[in-house]
Symmetry: C2
Subunit: 420 residues, 2 copies
């Protein structure tokens, strides 16, 4: 079986690591920044060199396409992003573009016959680091197909008005207008022109590494919900208020957090994840008893019945009084589990098996552009291992061998899709 | 027995409530602000009207003095502050100045004979709301007499360089230079010129109100310590990191907080107070497991042996690992219990008893300028009740009757000191 080139893969990773190099092993490459444009320039240069045609759409998404034997056939696309978080690593996002480039070059150099045109695509602003929210362009491009609540959040006009977190006078729309990659709306990814989308990504967790598998055959993006839990107390002087008179919102919140961990863990669901990442304290002065604590709880599991069990535990706090502080529970955000296309998932599994690459089924706990694209067209994802499970940080690492294996599996899955 | 005037007391409270009136029952009157200068102007006008001499020192502390029969005798001073916290009330600080004014006017109008000159004093910047720290001027004026660690913190040059919390380009020193109340260093409160200091203050707690007493005979300012407790975890993705792999610093901190409450409460000391008022979370993003939590713990009790018991519990966490997160415990600040002058405390008690005003011994959980002054000269404090224990907020309230009773007790304690 034809496989991708480890040498070219290494060259691609090393080359793209220079665009936004932060000087200590990682990158800062905000979407539409000069560094992100350098990465796109390199992408365009290399794709033109293998005979690809370049298109851009009104969100500055970039598409490099090689023809298939049937010029009327729909395209098959491999899509990811080249923007990063602040002090991010060299793999999250960009690897999905690099393996697309490598798969296309392998197909071209080996003259592998295929009917459908094949495209590698760069999504603009997946991270949303400078201009929130994350997955901005796919949220706009797939907008007509998304569930109402999500579609509303990602309306184009809202996205264009998104302000830079570093300079509130600048908007995403202005950055887009200034980009040489802003093109025509008619070039947007759409189900009339595209047959299927693949996205390869690092796992961002430790499951593949722990299991010793090189490929994750992704079946779904986990359903999740995010609630805010608030406790209201009474601000009083730390030195003059007897303990029995206090309404200490932080003590109440600490007890609630321990309660939540105990009760949720009793469900005995090892694949369930839940996180309190944010806690806000008011007035947050060391000599004043806190009168308000507001914390987040993010819960993810494939099965809605399990999510409901967790929600029941969280909601049991609503209106309850702990340490004389009233509790209030409020929904911030939720999404259902998004299942990827079964046929494409099968092609990924078959490709890995045929190549003799160790693999397993896995789900994605994180959100990706593929999840929005999947509402428009058959879509799936491939994971490669993340060393120590790290992501969104400089120590992000996947070996060249693992990246190349990922490119080979992706290429064969594309070729299987082409034959279908 | 001669007592102070309820009508004048009411007029004083109403008049001074206008300077910095925030429009909903309270005031914002930062030190050296136009509003604070209005309050000083009113003070000076009224004190001159009863024949007092005005002096100011290099920290803009203001002194209004009426003569005694012996022009060589040391002065007796009643001192407090007129600055407030943001959206503070009409009693914290200013009441101690108003009762001094009223006591002096009662002495003058009734021609009560006294040997020593009597002074009412305004301390600059007791709250430290705009220019931290709190008790700034007394920390500078008493600096040569303070324990080394405290003296170091309150060095004049550091205080002059203190930056406005609203505008980091402005310093306390600049505000002082711009104040018409900046005077000569030789006028500072000092033990060669002053015999004793009294400070009347609202209790800022519920003890007098709950006991139905009108006067608190303050015996000490509680010893205290403030520690920072930190947990170090590992930041990982909320959606991709299995629960058993996590090092969640917030979960560790919540467990530690519950542990601290349980263990400290086992000591069975109802007069002990401890507070976690501040909690800092990093990176504080709802989709990221926190890798660092830093919280404060403020502990106050008169007896150093009890404080040590609490400290032993806190220190038992140092170096310990909870939920795979390492704990670090660090001292931020401490002070010993400051006992007030026994003779002056006795004069306050006798005065209240002789006036037939219900009273009790009490300690101060909060810090006051009197605590620094007490290192220089005989000093004590008098508390009046705080409705519902409120302070540092607009609902602060003490009845005119209670304020007047406080003024009368203060006046008689001054007269007893004068006779000694």
């Amino acid at each position: 079986m034809i496989t991708c080139s480890k040498e070219r893969m290494e060259d691609l990773i090393v080359t793209f690591s220079k665009f936004g190099d932060a000087g200590h092993g990682g990158i800062t490459r905000y979407s539409l920044s000069p560094e992100a444009h350098q990465a796109r320039d390199e992408f365009v240069k290399r794709m033109k060199a293998i005979g690809a045609t370049i298109e851009t759409d009104d969100l500055a998404n970039v598409y490099a396409t090689i023809p298939g034997s049937d010029s009327n056939a729909k395209r098959i696309v491999m899509a990811s992003h080249v923007d990063s978080v602040k002090n991010g690593g060299n793999y999250d996002g960009v690897l999905g573009v690099l393996v697309g480039m490598e798969a296309m070059q392998t197909i071209v150099e080996n003259k592998i016959p295929h009917t459908h045109p094949i495209t590698t695509m760069i999504w603009t602003n997946e991270e949303g680091s400078l201009y929130p929210p994350a997955m901005m362009s796919s949220g706009v491009v797939a907008n007509d197909y998304l569930p109402e609540a999500i579609a509303k959040k990602f309306k184009l006009e809202n996205m264009l008005a998104s302000k830079s977190v570093l300079d509130k006078t600048k908007t995403f729309g202005e950055a887009l207008d200034a980009s040489p990659y802003k093109g025509d709306k008619s070039n947007r990814l759409n189900p009339d022109k595209y047959k299927a989308m693949f996205e390869l990504h690092i796992e961002q967790g430790p499951i593949l590494e722990d299991a010793g598998n090189e490929i994750g055959v992704v079946t779904c993006v986990l359903g999740m919900f995010n609630y805010r839990i608030r406790f209201y107390g009474q601000a009083d002087h730390a030195g003059t208020t007897p303990m029995h008179k206090r309404q200490d919102a932080l003590f109440a919140a600490a007890k609630a957090l321990v309660f939540l961990h105990e009760e949720i863990d009793k469900l005995g669901r090892p694949e369930l994840v839940y996180t309190t990442g944010e806690i806000v304290c008011h007035p947050c002065v060391h000599t004043v008893i806190p009168d308000m604590i507001d914390f987040s709880i993010d819960v993810r599991h494939e099965d809605p019945a399990v999510r409901q069990q967790v929600l029941d535990i969280i909601k049991s706090l609503d209106g309850k009084t702990i340490e004389k502080c009233k509790c209030e529970v409020e929904l911030a955000w939720q999404r259902d589990t998004v299942y990827f296309n079964k046929e494409l998932v099968g092609f990924v599994k078959e490709s890995a098996d045929e190549l003799g690459i160790s693999n397993q089924y896995i789900n994605s706990g994180a959100g990706h552009d593929a999840q929005f694209a999947s509402y428009m067209m058959p879509t799936t994802m491939i994971f490669v291992p993340s060393k120590d499970g790290h992501s969104h940080c400089e120590p992000e690492f996947t070996t060249v061998e693992q990246c190349t294996a990922g490119a080979s599996v992706l290429m064969h899955a594309i070729l299987k899709t082409d034959k279908k």
